[in-house]
């Protein structure tokens, strides 16, 4: 009996020590931070591997961006990149860590994507970071929004679609990738610009949304070009309109909403950000590396193979972009939040 008790105690001890260990590492992190400040004065950057926090699962869009850029950046900077995947709360767990826990020594950065980076905290007060906690380094890709329908759909072009929707308010079902995602906000922006009312169906990601449209379960899906392109090319989906500044060479026949007189430019963007207050040296080195990478023809070729639409915005430009986007999302959310916060 005593032995049994001892063994249970041992297991408990084991558990507790694991808990203790994890706390210890957090405590240890603090003195290191002061060390880092000294390191800031040393001119060399980078001298050790750079950690990349990824707020989504391996193989997701953020991972794809990291895997695309890292080989090029490694060559330019001469250090390796280590990805750490912290999926959960649509990226918020990783970004909270970046804002509040990561050392701002330039050796921890994160893949930051709009609009989730902002909509997370705009929509949930429990999320405690905001873009002021970050040092935006550069935007790399923007996947423009797109409206797709099944190949068998009665909507042959965007005019069909908008006209029908106008005459049947609230009857046309359109899918999006989830509340707070880019497609969700794009739909709201389109509704506002056209005065049309859709029936919005949120899905768990872009995939289920286009799949439902392809099978005719819903009338249309507000999605992204890069994601739906293989199905459009294969003829399973028909693209009606693009939410970009201009037409894409990938789909030259698909008009933009801008051409039709609606000023809707929207999509999901991915780039890199660091915690606020990283050494200038590190910031400049990282931005310069990304700039060099963007001029590499090999990089552009690799991006094109992955149907990734390169949209480089460096440093301050990226910061301004994030701030403008934040304003737009806050405005929209304030208008509609009463419908959602019950």
């Amino acid at each position: 009996m005593l032995r049994k008790f001892l063994l249970i105690a041992l297991v408990l001890l084991l558990v507790l020590s694991v808990v203790a260990c994890s706390q210890k590492t957090e405590e240890l992190a603090k003195p290191e931070q002061t060390e880092q400040k000294q390191e800031q004065q040393t001119p060399d950057y980078p001298t050790k591997p750079i950690k990349v926090l990824i707020g989504f699962k391996p193989g997701g869009g953020s991972d794809a961006l990291a895997q695309l850029c890292e080989p090029f950046l490694e060559k330019i900077l001469g250090v390796t990149f280590i990805n750490q995947y912290i999926p959960g709360a649509t990226g918020a767990i990783a970004w909270t860590q970046l804002a509040h826990e990561a050392k701002n020594d330039g050796y921890t950065i994160s893949v930051t994507n709009t609009p989730m980076l902002m909509t997370n905290y705009i929509m949930n007060e429990e999320i405690t970071y905001n873009i002021k906690d970050f040092e935006p380094l550069a935007n790399i890709v923007t996947d423009p929004g797109i409206i797709v329908v099944s190949k068998n759909s009665k909507f042959k072009d965007i005019n069909d679609f908008l006209e029908y929707a106008k005459n049947n308010p609230g009857q046309v079902t359109v899918g999006n990738s989830g509340v707070g995602g880019d497609d969700f906000f794009t739909t709201l922006i389109v509704e506002k610009a056209t005065g049309i009312e859709f029936e919005m169906v949120p899905f768990q990601g872009d995939g289920p949304s286009w799949q439902a449209a392809m099978a005719g379960k819903i009338d249309a899906s507000f999605n992204n070009l890069g994601i739906t392109y293989p199905q459009i090319k294969a003829g399973n989906l028909r693209a009606l309109a693009l939410f970009a500044e201009e037409r894409t060479p990938m789909l030259p026949d698909v008009p933009t909403l801008k051409e039709l007189g609606y000023n809707v430019v929207s999509g999901s963007s991915r780039g890199f950000s660091a915690p606020k207050g990283i050494p200038d040296k590190a910031r400049e080195a990282l931005i310069k590396a990304i700039e060099d990478m963007s001029k590499d023809s090999e990089f552009n070729k690799a991006a094109a193979e992955r149907a990734m639409n390169i949209d480089i915005k460096l440093g301050e430009e990226y910061r301004k972009y994030l701030e403008e986007q934040e304003k737009v999302f806050i405005e929209i959310w304030n208008e509609i939040k009463d419908q959602y916060k019950k």
């Binding site: 193989g59 912290i86 989830g178 899905f203 799949q211 293989p230 090319k233």
Partner: protein, 505 residues
């Protein structure tokens, strides 16, 4: 063209380097699968970034082989220790462990391995031959149909409630309630999260499953220390593992039925091995002559779940490769891997990237064969576990549970959550409340919630949408029949039809 691609894939897969990576993947899968707490999805997620340096065909084939291997590996821990090695082996514990307790561990392994092999082969051949045809099934499953699948799945809870039905239903209801934790899929409002962002994405059911199944068992093992005399020690060398033809004959129908269930569950987007094993177990029980023996350690129970979870692998790859729609969460990770390699998942996988795709398909077939032989050696070795004292095994299980629950999201919160479920599971066991219904509630609850809301938005609030879709109507009818079947009235009617005189007199 197709023949050419098929041959190209075959030749490519037969390269020594590819065969070796497939064998390595299968072996890693067997090992990871056999470790309680470590799941296939987790292993693939961790190892995937390492394969980015390999040729896409090699890297992805290795991951698919790992998937296949883990599906059998999961049963080893389930049978020996009553801790499912992977979520897809959770149902294997129900009959596998009682078999081991009766001293039939080796027999259980043999049946599990054979069933896994047949399930894997059937699904690989389906993938190789009729994939484009079957792929279309995936498209037919929209929110409405997924809702009905979830409803049908819920009826399994009734049949799993051995002993007290009330306890089983209560456990299932708690599972459903726990599935509601997290962001509301329709409004984005956090529910029952208490401001904790680690709960925003909901309770990961794998974490709950590790806690509910493995931790209580670790504690039970500790409790039995001192009276291990009754434990069946098996001599790994003398023991025969593979079943004889005579032993296999009565199981063959079950294995085939489960394989088909596995393939179809695999094809349906959003459902994988974790769901298929319960469906297969339930159907095996439904068609069995001695339903009461399920759960006491009968070969059918093991064969049903193990054939199904291996059949899921090929099934899940069918829509993945023909349409670019992942059939399970594991294949969703694989698709991500393809994208990182610069291969856009979609209908062009079968044409433009035929070299990679057909290599992968053949790799799966070879992985199944390799799994059978490596699995045989691996199983023989793993029988030695029965000779190890509980005082060593129990802490190892706990350690693996900690690693497994941490690695899913690299989150320490999940480890604490896992222990929470462990404690709950232990006391549920004490009051004879089954934990399996709670896991089913958790797995299906989220699907039920999301698809019900989506369906009602699509139908503008009309419930008739569930009977207007033929697939949904059939599934719901099946669900209704399942419920009626477990009521006393139904048993009475069946008896009356079969044997009218006996009842009358």
């Amino acid at each position: 063209m197709i023949v050419q691609n098929l041959l190209y894939g075959l030749v490519n897969v037969l390269k020594i380097s590819n065969l070796l990576t497939i064998a390595l993947g299968t072996a890693i899968g067997l090992f990871v699968g056999a470790m309680p707490g470590l799941s296939a999805t987790m292993a693939i997620a961790i190892l995937l970034p390492l394969t980015f340096g390999l040729h896409p065909a090699t890297g992805i084939s290795m991951m698919a082989a790992l998937y296949m291997g883990a599906m059998y590996g999961g049963s080893i821990a389930a049978i020996l220790l009553k801790t499912p090695g992977t979520p897809a082996a959770a149902a294997t514990t129900l009959d596998g462990y009682p078999m081991a307790q009766k001293g039939q561990a080796a027999k259980a392994f043999g049946i599990s391995l054979t069933a896994s092999f047949i399930g894997g082969m059937i699904s690989s051949i389906a993938l190789l031959t009729v994939a484009p045809l079957l792929g279309q099934i995936a498209l037919n499953f929209g929110p409405v149909e997924l809702f009905s699948v979830a409803v049908l799945g819920m009826t399994i809870i009734a049949s799993l409630s051995r002993g007290s039905t009330i306890m089983g239903l209560l456990s299932g209801a708690v599972g459903l309630l726990l599935a509601m934790v997290g962001m509301d899929p329709i409004t984005g409002t956090p529910r029952f999260t208490f401001g904790n962002i680690y709960l925003f994405s909901g309770i990961p059911f794998t974490v709950a499953l590790i806690g509910l199944f493995s931790i209580p068992q670790a504690i039970r093992l500790i409790e039995t220390i001192g009276n291990e005399g009754g434990k069946h020690k098996i001599d790994p060398i003398k023991e025969r593992i593979l079943p004889t033809i005579q032993e296999l004959k009565p199981l063959i129908v079950t294995i085939f039925r489960s394989s088909i269930i596995g393939v179809i569950t695999g094809i349906i987007p959003g459902t994988g091995g974790d769901t298929a094993c319960w469906f297969a177990y339930n159907e095996a029980k439904r068609f069995s002559k001695d339903k009461d023996k399920f759960g006491t350690g009968i070969p059918e129970g093991v064969a049903a779940t193990e054939a199904a979870n291996n059949a899921v692998v090929g099934g899940a790859l069918i829509p993945t490769l023909t349409l670019g729609i992942p059939g399970s969460s594991t294949t969703a990770v694989l698709i991500g891997g393809l994208m990182v390699h610069g291969i856009m998942p979609g209908p062009t996988l079968m044409t433009e990237y035929a070299d990679v795709t057909y290599t992968l398909i053949w790799a799966l077939l070879f992985a199944t064969i390799i799994m059978f032989f490596v699995g045989l050696i691996f199983t023989k070795a793993s029988i030695y576990v029965t000779m190890v004292s509980n005082r060593i095994i129990a802490p190892i299980i706990v350690v693996l549970c900690v690693i497994g629950s941490f690695a899913i999201n690299n989150s320490f919160f999940d480890v604490l959550l896992m222990f929470g479920f462990g404690v709950v599971g232990y006391f549920m066991d004490k009051i004879k409340m089954p934990t399996a219904p709670m896991v089913i509630g958790l797995i299906l609850g989220r699907m039920l919630d999301v698809s019900l809301n989506q369906s009602l938005i699509i139908s503008h609030g009309s419930w008739s949408i569930f009977v207007k879709s033929p697939i949904s109507a059939v599934l719901l009818t099946l669900a209704l029949l399942s419920i009626l079947q477990s009521t006393p009235l139904f048993t009475y009617i069946i008896k009356k039809i079969k044997n009218p005189k006996k009842i009358m007199s």
